[in-house]
Structure formats: C-alpha cells, structure tokens
Amino acid sequence: MALSTNLSPDKQREMLRQMLTIRRFEERASADYLAGKIYGVVHCYIGEEAVAVGVCTALGGNDRIISTHRGHGHCIAKGADLNRMMAELYGRQTGYCKGKGGSMHIADFGIGMLGANGIVAGGISIVTGAGLAAQMEGKGGVAVSFFGDGASNAGPFHECLNIAAAWKLPMIYVCENNMYAAQTAAAQTHALPDVAARAAGYGIPGIVVDGNDVFAVHQAASGAVDRARSGGGPTLIECKTYRWRAHTERKGQPDPRDQAEVEAWKRKDPIALLERQLRDQGELDDPGLRAIEGGVMSALEAAVAFAEASPFPLPEQATDDVFAA
C-alpha cells in the first residue's frame, strides 16, 4: 500500500516521532502497570496511533479535542507534556491532575485537550460544548471528538451530531472503529459495518478512511477542518483501525479475538507503514530513524525519571479542588 500526501518531509518525520512516542510511552506504561508502579486501569492505544496523529496534525493550537478511556495517544498527539502525563500515571503531585485522575482522566486545557473520560461517549457532548464555544468566540476554532465504535451506538453520539448539524458547529467527530467494544465485536452490536453511514441522517458528510494510513486520516481531517472553519458545520470521519493489545492491561486476561485477525492487523502497523513510506521517498534512513527513536526514548526516560522523583500527594490534599474558589 502506498500512502500519499503533500505534507513536507519534516512534518512527516514529526508525525512518525509522535506515533513512536505514543507507542513507546504505552509500552512503558504497560510494563510499569504490570510492575505495580501505575495503578487502576490502563487502556492502550497501540496500533491506532495514526488516527490521533493524523487528526491532530490537521489542527491548530487553538483547536480543542476530547478523548476517551483510551486517551494517551490523543494527549501526546495534541502536544501534552510527557513528564506530567507519566507523573499522573504514577499518581504524583506533579501529574496533570495532581494524582487525582490517573490514566482515564488526563487533561490539559492549556493545549486544548479537554480530557480522557471513563464513561463511554461521555466526552462527546462536552467537546460539542467546546465547538459551541468556538462558534461563539468567532475566531475560527474547531473541536474534535474522538470516540470508539462502541460509543457510536450510545445516545450522546446521536444527540450531538444532530445538534452540531442543526447549529452548524465547527465540529469533527472521529470514530475510531477498532471493531471491538471491550470483548464484544462490533459485528454483534452494529446494524451496519460503517458508522459513517449514519452521517447522512444528519445531512453531514460521513467519510470512511483507513485509520492505519496517517496521511489518509490527515487528509480527511484537513478537509473537515476547512469545512468547519468556514462555517460548513460538522463532519463524521470513521477511521478503520485495530487495537493490538487487550482491552485493558491486566495480568492473565484472555483476549477473545481471533489471533489470526490480530496478526493480520499487526502486519498493517501504521508506524511501519509510515516508516516505509519515508524510506521509499528517500526521506528516512537508518541513522535518521535511530535519531528519532533515540529522541523518543530519552524523552520517555526523562518522563519516567521525573515521575519517580516527584512526591506523592499528601493525604490532606484529598479535600482540595472539590470546589473552585
């Protein structure tokens, strides 16, 4: 498969760096979770990196996104600080949420990342409010809702697509169709294979793209951003992709999916695809890749070191921030 784009080689290498950062961050998070240094629950995005990076590359600094329970990729693609992310996973005072949120609740409003969310479809309405805010601000901002195939069956999906369409909100709804909601296959719970088919009911474009092709994702997102910025209203983009790991990181949890299916998708690795593309263009060689990998790894090591060096919150901080002043 040949990917096509008119993004500059620098931009393409930056996308590779981001995708690699997501992957290495989560490999580490998974290992540290299993080692007991990270608590609660961790959902990995590995295999789906092209979606977050393809979409966020099409956004500007004032644009806003919201994420799901599977949030690390969106955070990183929107430019979140690895140190504060890792510190949050480690439950430290220096984390994004001062140790109150953990993996399912990382947010950075400063960069327009309105949060991961532990409730399936819980973020869709909130980020639609960011779309409304952008419209009221009148500065051309857009807002992006990331959500899964599972979430696309929930009420807020419908309610918000209709509102965004009726009010012509500058919204992009990005369905990450990884074919499963936890253990349940989308084929069992969706009347049709394409979530994008639902867009027509709201009179908005519904686009299906190969979610492992970062340029295809980027191109669809760019079109939707243009449309949204120019007052054309929302777009639904469905990215067909796959998660490599189990629904959550957990010791000994069986993965009910067909192993052949998992392997087939691994052969469509979005990172390998992008890497090969850059090589084919003559824009990446071994030393170049090593440099990128090296940068990613040292940022990650620094993040882990930062987290480990950071203090835990104090017990009395449990009562801070229930209410704002």
Partner: protein, 324 residues
C-alpha cells in the same frame, strides 16, 4: 418595596447577570420568551430535547470560558442527563486537578401540588446532595431566589437551583438594588424557643402558618430555612436546636436518605447539640411513594401545616430521655 413572584425574581436575576456578563448564555428545550426577546437566539438557545447533550455542552462551554445556564425545567427531565451531572460536572474540576473552572447554573423545578403524577412531581434533591462536587439551593421566597441565583451565576462551580413548583406564582418583596445571598447561609424565618422546625421551600410557609397557629397556645416555634442544601449551614441548624432542644424537619420529599435524614444526622452527631436534645427528631415528609395523580391521593402523600403541627406536638409531648 416592590413585589415580584418567585419565578419573576429568578428571571430578573438571570437577566441582570446576562446584561453584566456577555459570557453567560442560556439553554433549554424552549427558549424563555422574555430572555429570548432581550438577548436573542445566540445567547438564549432553544435546544432539541436532549438534556444529556446540552448539559454536556454546558460543561464543555464552561471549561472553555463561558458561563452557561442550563435549564432542565422540571427536575424529572434531568435524569436523562444524570451521567453528565454525576460523572462529569460534579467531578471534572477535582478529577482534572483543578486546572480550570466550570461555572454553570442548572435550573430544575421540584415538588408536587400540580396533580401531574409520579414523573412530574419529584423532589429528588438529596440524590444530588449525595454527590460530592455539586452546590445547590432551594429558596422559599422571591427575595432568596434572586439573591441566590445571582450568587450561583457568579460562582465558579456547577450550582443547581432547585425551584419549588408550588411557589412559582407566589409574590414577595424584592429590592431594586443589586444584592446577593451567600451560598451556605441559612435564614431564621421566625424566632422561637420551644421547638426548631427546619423547613424547605413551600414547607417554610406551611411551617410559618403552623407556628402562627401554635403561638395561640403559647408554643414558640423557631423556623430555620437552610435555603442552600450544599453547603448546608450546619451551625445555624445546630445552634437553633441547642436553644430549643427539639427538632422537626419538614420536607416535601420522601424521608428515605433524604434531606431530612441528613439534617437528623447533622444534629444528632454533634455532641453539644445532642446533649441538649430533649426529644426524638421528627421528620414530617411526603410518604415514601411515587406521587399519585388523583387529588385525594396527592393530598394524602404530602405534608402540610397540619402535619407539621402534629409533628411539633409529638416532639413537645415526648418524654425526656431517661437519664441512664
């Protein structure tokens, strides 16, 4: 002083605040005509019937610097938005480590009296009290309504304005000048020495009528109107009970795990207050049933001045606890 209805007081507070702060906007399933007329469709939005969505939209807009007013109208309609209320609005500031604020006013009418049956006659405020991270109030007069709504709109947190259906048309004095009433400050609506009645909304008025009646017999009733449910003014409640030694709680909601239970606990867990308590606490509440339609049945369910009087007599007649 000029008089406004309870409902007019709310609308006046909102209109004044909207004039003051362009970041405030209003959402409900039908646009309120006076607000729509003054502020236009951009700031007074008629939404589809999607309380879940537009509550969430309010949260998002709040996090982006706006100050939405989300009017659920009857409280029963907000149950479809319960995830956004409980899992998002109440927790988002805390969960994200306080990085931004989410100033929002939610409005919901509560209570019975309209013969509109079980779904449309609810008083579920204690369900929201139980959720950490929400402030809320329930005023009994137009004056309190206006002052509390203004405070709530200026507050940087989600605040629920519960508004009594029975009181919507009730008139009362409201000053012309701008004023606010702090959240968390109870109001002693009548002073007395024999028994404390903690009452909410419509039952404040019923309690006042009961007190008038009992005064003829020389019984002196103190009436405490908490006004705010969260934060609750425990001090005023407790010090009233320390003075009178007796407590009746009058609430249009059912008793179980209700506001009335919380007040009973607040009073009986405080050593100094408990020490002065001369009689069991008494809850004068709705029966613990869904609210029925027919007037005979609805009447049978809700408390009123007569039941408050009976409750007061009960605590006055009660034996002192046997000195053990």
């Amino acid at each position: 002083m000029r008089e406004l209805t309870y409902n007019e007081a709310a609308l006046e507070a909102i209109a004044e605040e909207m004039r003051r702060d362009p970041k405030i906007f209003y959402m409900s399933t039908d646009a309120l005509p006076p607000l729509l007329k003054e502020f236009g469709e951009q700031r007074v939005k008629a939404t589809p019937i999607t309380e879940a969505a537009f509550t969430g939209i309010g949260i998002g807009a709040a996090g982006c610097g706006f100050r939405p007013i989300v009017d659920w109208r009857q409280v029963t309609f907000c149950f479809v938005a319960m995830d956004q209320i409980v899992n998002q609005a109440a927790k988002i500031h805390y969960m994200f480590g306080g990085q931004v604020t989410f100033p929002m006013l939610f409005r919901a009418s509560v209570g019975g009296g309209g013969l509109v049956a079980a779904q449309h006659s609810q008083s579920p405020y204690s369900m929201f009290m139980n959720v950490a991270g929400l402030k809320m109030f329930l005023p009994s007069t137009p004056y309190d309504m206006k002052g509390l709504i203004k405070t709530a709109i200026r507050d940087n947190n989600p605040v629920i304005s519960f508004e009594s259906s029975r009181l919507m048309g009730r008139r009362g004095p409201v000053p012309d000048e701008d004023y606010t009433i702090p959240l968390g400050q109870a109001d002693v609506k009548r002073e007395g020495s024999d028994v404390t009645v903690v009452a909410l909304a419509w039952l404040v008025h019923e309690a006042l009528a009961a007190a008038e009646e009992l005064a003829k017999e020389g019984i002196s009733v103190e009436i405490v109107d908490p006004r705010t449910l969260v934060p609750l003014d425990k001090d005023t409640i407790r010090s009233s009970v320390r003075k009178t030694g007796r407590l009746v709680i009058a609430d249009e909601a059912g008793p179980t795990a209700g506001f009335s239970a919380e007040v009973a606990a607040v009073v009986t867990e405080d050593a100094a207050t408990f020490a002065r308590l001369k009689a069991p606490v008494k809850r004068v509440c709705a029966l613990q049933v869904p609210i029925p339609y027919s007037p005979v049945l609805e009447n049978a369910v809700f408390p009123d001045r007569n039941r408050i009087i009976a409750g007061i007599r009960e605590v006055l007649d009660a034996k002192q606890p046997a000195a053990a």
